[in-house]
Symmetry: C2
Subunit: 155 residues, 2 copies
C-alpha cells in the first residue's frame, strides 16, 4: 500500500482528473472542442457581459495570467470578443459573440448533466453530502488558493 492513497491531496487530484476526463469525453461526443476552463469563462462572461479579465479571473477563481491565454483561444475560435475598455484603457472588456451564445446554449445542458457522472458510485444522498462538504471547505480555504474567488470584484 502506497502511503499517499488515503491522503486528501491525492484523492482530490484523482477526482479532478476524473472530472476533466468526463468533461473531455462528453464534449468529444458532442463534437465540440471546449475545455472546462473555457466553458467556465464563457459562461461567466455571458452572465456578466462587459466584464474585464481581472474581474473574470476573480469570478471563476482562475489565475489571471492563465486566463489571458484562455481568452486568447476563445477569441481565436470566435466565441468571445475583447475590447479595450473606454473607462479604463488598461482593461480588456469581454463579451460573448453570437457563435459563443450558440455554443453555450448547446453545451450548457450537457455540462449540467455530466456533473452527476463525475461523482459516480455514490447515491443521491452521498452526492449531496459530498457537494456540501466540498462547498464548505473550498469556501473556508478560499484564501489559501493562488486564485481565490472574489465574486464581487469589479463591475
Amino acid at each position: 500500500m502506497v502511503e499517499i492513497y488515503n491522503m486528501a491531496g491525492h484523492l482530490v487530484r484523482r477526482l479532478n482528473q476524473i472530472s476533466v476526463a468526463v468533461f473531455a469525453d462528453r464534449m468529444a461526443a458532442e463534437g465540440v472542442e471546449l475545455t472546462p476552463v473555457q466553458f467556465a469563462a464563457l459562461s461567466a462572461i455571458d452572465a456578466r457581459p462587459g466584464i474585464a479579465q481581472a474581474a473574470l479571473a476573480g469570478a471563476i477563481a482562475y489565475d489571471q495570467t492563465t486566463l489571458g491565454g484562455v481568452i486568447d483561444r476563445l477569441e481565436q475560435k470566435g466565441f468571445v470578443a475583447r475590447q479595450v475598455s473606454s473607462r479604463d484603457r488598461r482593461a480588456r472588456v469581454l463579451t460573448v459573440t453570437l457563435a459563443g451564445r450558440d455554443l453555450l446554449a448547446r453545451v450548457r445542458p450537457v455540462v449540467r448533466d455530466l456533473q452527476g457522472d463525475i461523482l459516480s458510485g455514490l447515491d443521491e444522498d452521498e452526492k449531496a453530502q459530498l457537494l456540501a462538504l466540498l462547498k464548505k471547505t473550498t469556501d473556508a480555504g478560499n484564501d489559501k488558493s493562488r486564485a481565490p474567488l472574489t465574486p464581487r470584484g469589479g463591475i
Copy 2:
C-alpha cells in the same frame, strides 16, 4: 450567481487548487523544492524499489508521458536513479538515492501534517466523511480517468 459555483467539477478543481497551494507553501517553508507529483513518485519508488516507469505511473495514477518528465527532474536533482532494466531493455528501473531518502525522511511528516490543512473549515467528523466519499467515488470512477490507478501492475 455564476452557474458553475455549485457544480462538482468546479468545486473539485478549486479544492485541488487549494491542495496544491497548501503543499507549495509548506514546502517553501521547509526550504524544499518539491511538487506534489514529485513527492508521490519519490514515495512510491521508495515503497517499491526497482519499479519501472510504466508500473509507477499505474501505482500513483499519473499519465506515463507526464511521469517521464517528472522523473527527468527528480533524476537531475539527484533524488532518483534510473537504469535500463536487465530483464526488459525497454524498461527504465527506478530507485531512490541516498539524497532522495534523506529528503523523504524530512518531508514525509510535513506532507502528512499538511493534509489536515487542505480540508480547512471542517471538523474531524466532516473531514473523515469527505475522505470516505472521495475514496468511494474515485474508486468507482477510476476507469474514467486517463491515468487510472493500477496498483498491481508489474512489480
